[in-house]
Subunit: 330 residues, 2 copies
């Protein structure tokens, strides 16, 4: 089947079904990270492949930022399991127009995020390539019970950390260019696009305190990633549009786009999780003591799929609710 | 500096020097695999990135073979540490001309090697790309003392498993095409090029019995990889040309090339190791009981670099002794 018809998630599902689950694998393909046993103990493992022309354009990103972000997207997957990252393996395909200073600049970016988070780059592979390829694999220490995508129940509240849509709106302004980019608000949105900071501490706390029933990081867009939770947990979800956490900068610059980027933009690298109603107080407390905004944006319901309701309780046309799929042509 | 001047190994060395060695890292960048601590226990980790047009050409390989080989090169790195592989993470960049059947065929090849070796594919990442990209990361259980590249001493014998040069000569015949390819001997050489079998059992035995002082797998060519051992161990090495283990098929088809591919060809995925003279008997025994040919091909000497001597004891011109470097233009 053509991949453009099957889609990225269709392909992953097909691979997953055919892939035997081996000895020592507590959780294999299909979540934010795999969870595997060692002779004594266990680890979380995740990987991301970033390709020039597909995931980034060197016109719009510095090599430092690219290094930073390559690691960030992996640490965000670990955060979504509640783990603490320990080691990174970085493989590069390097085109002829880059020199060793460029590669070192990329490593500087990786290290700028790795060091404060206690992550060591322990190896990898370097090659020539026609365009820049960055492949990162991260190994992490799991919490006693890693947070999966499955586990949400009907009636659970749905929460998200931080604000949504900043990264996607930032990228849009960047592509459009011009005077808008020089505004202070634009700089903040761009920073969120270029150097996303994974929510490691919050993820680890939610896992340790057993406050979340299911969790994922928002990389493909809120609606798309919530669909993953719904499918894995066999629930549906309702999101209240007016509850979406938007930054002041987003509000200032989104214009007639409204919440579109917050719902579908992607690359937010915030945590999206479900929790029992009885934990509302403790989650509020965790948000206050850790100074990380956590917003209650919806509820898990019977059925399937994600519905977004406006202030009047009317559904926002679901056809407009996309999210990112690497293979499907939109 | 231009990467074509610095070279792959120059770049790796530069990265290694700047890379802090973090907490829990027993062995970081610069060996066949990294060795890292978990809260209880430790793991080996290795990664390889294979890029269409750089490492392979879909004209000359099936997707099944490509999957098989992508995992094989990583397992060979684990074999060279004496470890037993457990988990693989497979990330793909997939061009538009491939469909889901092709991707499944690649996975079939991966699994054909993974299953008999107890390796589980636990995750990865899938993306669109302009050309096929395969990034594999493998996590393994280490022996109590992993075999590093450093550790060889002056006077140590130098050994290699199996036969050398088959893969490189096979590739050469493939590229040349024509009637030569239809010979039975050619088929065997081609099989070694397409589906190299990593020496996991031998590597693990050598580590467990503490018979090797230093070890590496032959991926870039015997001379090149022996140089890595020499540099890490601060020794020189002498190789006796007439002792190089050559298959009957290689002898039949190498013609005037002589031992050239055995010395410099690469992609043999045999184990190259050093051992104390006092262990000659036990290594011979290990070779016989495990039915894996192990040939004593040289000796570690004072000084630096690798010298290859012909039957008369004369050095073979070292300028001719290359080996593969991804960045240097030869």
């Amino acid at each position: 089947m053509k991949l453009s018809r099957l889609g990225e998630f269709g392909l992953i599902e097909r691979i997953r079904r055919k892939q035997p689950v081996g000895r020592g694998v507590r959780l294999g393909i299909g979540d934010d990270a795999a969870w595997v046993e060692n002779p004594s103990g266990s680890s979380l493992v995740t990987a991301d492949l970033l390709i020039e022309g597909v995931h980034f354009d060197l016109k719009w990103t510095s090599l430092f930022d690219l290094g930073f972000k390559s690691l960030a997207v992996n640490l965000s997957d670990i955060a979504a399991m509640g783990g603490m990252p320990a080691y990174a393996i970085l493989s590069l395909g390097i085109p002829a127009n880059l020199d060793s200073k460029d590669v070192e600049e990329l490593y500087r970016g990786v290290n700028a995020l790795a060091r404060p988070n206690g992550v060591s780059v322990v190896g990898g592979d370097t090659n020539t390539a026609k365009s820049l390829i960055i492949s990162v694999c991260v190994i992490a220490h799991p919490p006693s019970r890693p947070l999966r995508r499955s586990g949400a129940s009907i009636g659970n509240d749905i929460y998200v950390t931080g604000t949504l849509g900043d990264s996607a709106l930032g990228l849009k302004l960047l592509r459009r260019g011009g005077a808008g980019l020089r505004k202070r608000a634009a700089a903040k949105l761009l920073a969120r696009h270029r150097r996303p900071v994974p929510r490691l501490a919050t993820g680890a706390l939610l896992a340790r305190e057993r406050l979340a029933t299911a969790m994922i990081d928002v990389s493909d867009g809120l609606v798309q990633d919530l669909r993953h939770i719904c499918r894995a947990s066999a629930t549906g979800a309702v999101i209240y549009n007016e509850r979406l956490p938007l930054s002041a900068e987003y509000r200032a610059l989104a214009g007639k786009e409204g919440t579109r980027h917050a719902l579908m933009g992607g690359e937010d690298y915030e945590l999206l999780f479900c929790a029992r109603r009885s934990h509302r107080g403790r989650i509020q407390e965790l948000s206050e003591t850790s100074r990380v905004p956590i917003s209650r944006i919806g509820i898990c319901v019977a059925g399937q799929g994600v519905m977004v309701l406006d202030q009047t309780g009317k559904g926002i046309a679901s056809g407009a609710l996309g999210g990112h799929d690497h293979f499907k042509n939109e």
